[in-house]
C-alpha cells in the first residue's frame, strides 16, 4: 500500500513534465512547431534509438563520463585537502587565501581557450577544465567546513592520542563533511557545465561534441536527443549525489 502511494506521489510530482511533453507532441502534430526548429517527440525518440543501437551513444557517453569523473574527482580530492589545510595550518591560509579570493570570482569557463592551446582537442583539456573550474568552490567549502569544527572535538581527539595527521584529519573531515558535501554538490553541477562547454568548443568526441556536430549537420532530432541525454545525466547525478549525502550524513541529528 505504501509503495503504491509512493509511486502515485512520484507520478503526481512529475506530471507537469508529462504535461509539457504532451504539449510538445501536440504542437508538433498540429504543425505549430516547425520541425526545423524543434523536432517532434517521435523523431527525437527515433533518433535516440538509432544512436543507441548503433553504439554511438554509448561510445560518446563513455568518453564524456570518463573525462567528467577524472576531472571532478581530482578537484574534490585536491580541493578538500587544500581547504582543510588552509583551515588548520596558519601559514597555508595566509599565503593561499588571497590567491583563492582573487581567482574565485573569475568565470571558470574563461579557462577553456588556454586549455585548447595547452592540451588541444584531447581528453586532457576537458579534464583540466573541470578540475580547475571546480577546484576553488571545493576549497572554499572545505575551508569553511573545517574552520567551523568545534575545538572540543579536536582537543578530545588529541587527548585520545591522535597525532597531527592521520586520525586527526579524519575527524576534522567527518566534522566538516556537511559543508564539504554542499560545496561538492554545487561543484558537480558546475562540472557538467564545464564538460559540455569544453566539448562543444574543443572536442572531437563526447556528448557535447555530438550536440554540436549534429546541430551543424542539420540532424536536429539526434541533436535534441543528445541534449536530453545530457540534461538527464546532469539531473540524475545530482539526485544520486543527494542520496549519497543523505546516507553519509545519516549520523547527524538534523533538527528541522
Amino acid at each position: 500500500m505504501r509503495a503504491a502511494n509512493a509511486i502515485a506521489g512520484t507520478l503526481y510530482y512529475y506530471a507537469p513534465v508529462a504535461l509539457l511533453i504532451l504539449c510538445w507532441d501536440l504542437g508538433s502534430r498540429l504543425g505549430l512547431l516547425s520541425a526545423d526548429l524543434l523536432p517532434s517527440p517521435e523523431a527525437t525518440l527515433a533518433a535516440f534509438r538509432a544512436v543507441l543501437d548503433s553504439g554511438e551513444l554509448a561510445q560518446q557517453a563513455s568518453v564524456s563520463l570518463f573525462r567528467e569523473s577524472m576531472g571532478f574527482l581530482a578537484s574534490v580530492v585536491v580541493g578538500t585537502v587544500l581547504g582543510i589545510a588552509m583551515a588548520r595550518i596558519e601559514w597555508a591560509r595566509v599565503l593561499i587565501r588571497p590567491v583563492v579570493t582573487f581567482f574565485y570570482p573569475m568565470p571558470k569557463t574563461a579557462l577553456i581557450p588556454i586549455l585548447l592551446l595547452w592540451f588541444g582537442l584531447g581528453d586532457m583539456s576537458k579534464i583540466a577544465a573541470i578540475f580547475l573550474g571546480c577546484l576553488l568552490p571545493v576549497v572554499i567549502s572545505s575551508y569553511n567546513g573545517a574552520r567551523g569544527v568545534e575545538p572540543l572535538l579536536v582537543w578530545s581527539a588529541r587527548s585520545l592520542g591522535a597525532g597531527k595527521f592521520g586520525v586527526l584529519w579524519k575527524i576534522i573531515l567527518m566534522a566538516a563533511l556537511p559543508d564539504i558535501l554542499s560545496g561538492v554538490r554545487m561543484a558537480l553541477a558546475l562540472s557538467w557545465l564545464l564538460l559540455v562547454s569544453a566539448e562543444l568548443l574543443l572536442a572531437q568526441k563526447g556528448l557535447g561534441f555530438m550536440i554540436g556536430y549534429y546541430g551543424e549537420t542539420g540532424d536536429y532530432a539526434t541533436m535534441f536527443s543528445a541534449i536530453i541525454v545530457v540534461v538527464l545525466i546532469g539531473s540524475i547525478s545530482d539526485r544520486l549525489f543527494l542520496a549519497l549525502m543523505g546516507w553519509s550524513l545519516r549520523w547527524r541529528n538534523l533538527s528541522a
Binding site: L95, L201, G234
Partner: protein, 270 residues
C-alpha cells in the same frame, strides 16, 4: 619566557603585521616573479605560458587600440541584461510558487530537474532559434540564472512569519498589497542569496556563449585568439575577465551587505 604547558606559542608581532598587510599579495607576487624568471630562463615555453611582462605589454596594446575595452563592455552588457532579466523572472515565479499551489505543482519538478542540469547543452538549439546575435546569449543566461533565483525566492517567501503579515494587515495593508509590501522585503535576505549565486553564473554563461558563437566580447576574443595560437592575447583575456569578475562580485557583495544592514544573521563567507 616560559610558556605554560600546552599553550601554543603566540605568533610574533612581526608575523601578525605581515598577515594583515603585505601577506595578502605575497604569494601572488612570488608566483608572478617565479613565472617571469622561469620563462626568461627557458623553463617554461613562452608559447604556452608567456611571461607576465609580455602579457602586460600586450594588454597595454589592446587597451590602447580600444578593442579590449569594447569587448569587456559588451560582455558586461550581456551579463547584466541576462542577470537582471533572470532576477525579475525568478522572483516573480518564486513568489508565485510560494503563494499559489497550482503554480508550485507546475514549477517544482521543472526546477528540481533543471537546476543541476547543464543547460548550456541547449545552446546549439538556442542558436538555431535566435541566431548568432545577442538574443541567443541573453536567453541562455536567463535560462541558466533563473533557477537559483526561483529556488531562493521560493524558500524566502514560503517561510514568512505570519505575525508580520498580520501586523501589516492590521495596519491597513490590503490582501494584494501584502506581497510587495511585506513578503518580498521580508524574503530579501534569501532572494539576495539566490542573486548572489546567479550573478557569477551570469558571467560564466556569458563568456561561454560568446565562445560558442564566436560572438565578440571577452569570450569571443579569447577563443579566437586561442584558435589563432595567440597565447598572449588569451592570457590578456583571462586576466581582464578575472579583474572584471573580482570587481563586480565584490561590488555586488558590498551592495548586498548594504541592502541587508538591517538583518541580524551574518552570512559566513571567505
Amino acid at each position: 619566557m616560559a610558556q605554560p604547558l600546552g599553550v601554543k606559542k603566540p605568533a610574533g608581532a612581526w608575523f601578525t603585521a605581515f598577515k594583515r598587510g603585505p601577506a595578502r599579495f605575497a604569494f601572488g607576487v612570488v608566483l608572478l616573479i617565479a613565472w617571469e624568471i622561469s620563462v626568461d630562463a627557458g623553463f617554461i615555453n613562452p608559447y604556452l605560458m608567456p611571461a607576465p611582462s609580455a602579457i602586460a605589454i600586450r594588454m597595454a596594446k589592446e587597451l590602447a587600440s580600444g578593442t579590449l575595452v569594447s569587448d569587456t563592455v559588451l560582455t558586461m552588457y550581456r551579463a547584466f541584461v541576462g542577470f537582471l532579466s533572470a532576477s525579475v523572472v525568478g522572483v516573480v515565479i518564486g513568489t508565485l510558487a510560494a503563494r499559489n499551489a497550482p503554480a508550485r505543482w507546475f514549477f517544482d519538478p521543472l526546477v528540481s530537474i533543471g537546476f543541476p542540469a547543464p543547460k548550456i547543452a541547449f545552446m546549439p538549439l538556442f542558436v538555431l532559434w535566435f541566431g548568432l546575435g545577442d538574443s541567443a546569449k541573453i536567453m541562455m543566461i536567463v535560462f541558466t540564472c533563473v533557477f537559483p533565483v526561483i529556488s531562493a525566492t521560493y524558500l524566502g517567501t514560503a517561510s514568512i512569519d505570519r505575525y508580520l503579515i498580520w501586523s501589516a494587515r492590521n495596519l491597513g495593508v490590503s490582501r494584494r498589497g501584502i506581497v510587495w509590501k511585506v513578503v518580498v522585503p521580508a524574503a530579501l535576505p534569501q532572494i539576495l542569496n539566490g542573486l548572489q549565486i546567479a550573478f557569477p553564473m551570469s558571467l560564466i554563461v556569458t563568456v561561454v556563449t560568446e565562445m560558442i558563437t564566436s560572438g565578440g566580447g571577452l569570450g569571443g576574443y579569447m577563443i579566437m585568439a586561442a584558435r589563432d595560437a595567440l597565447s598572449e592575447q588569451v592570457f590578456v583575456g583571462i586576466f581582464t575577465i578575472a579583474i572584471v569578475g573580482y570587481v563586480l562580485l565584490n561590488g555586488f557583495d558590498r551592495l548586498r551587505r548594504h541592502l541587508l544592514r538591517w538583518h541580524t544573521e551574518s552570512m559566513t563567507a571567505m
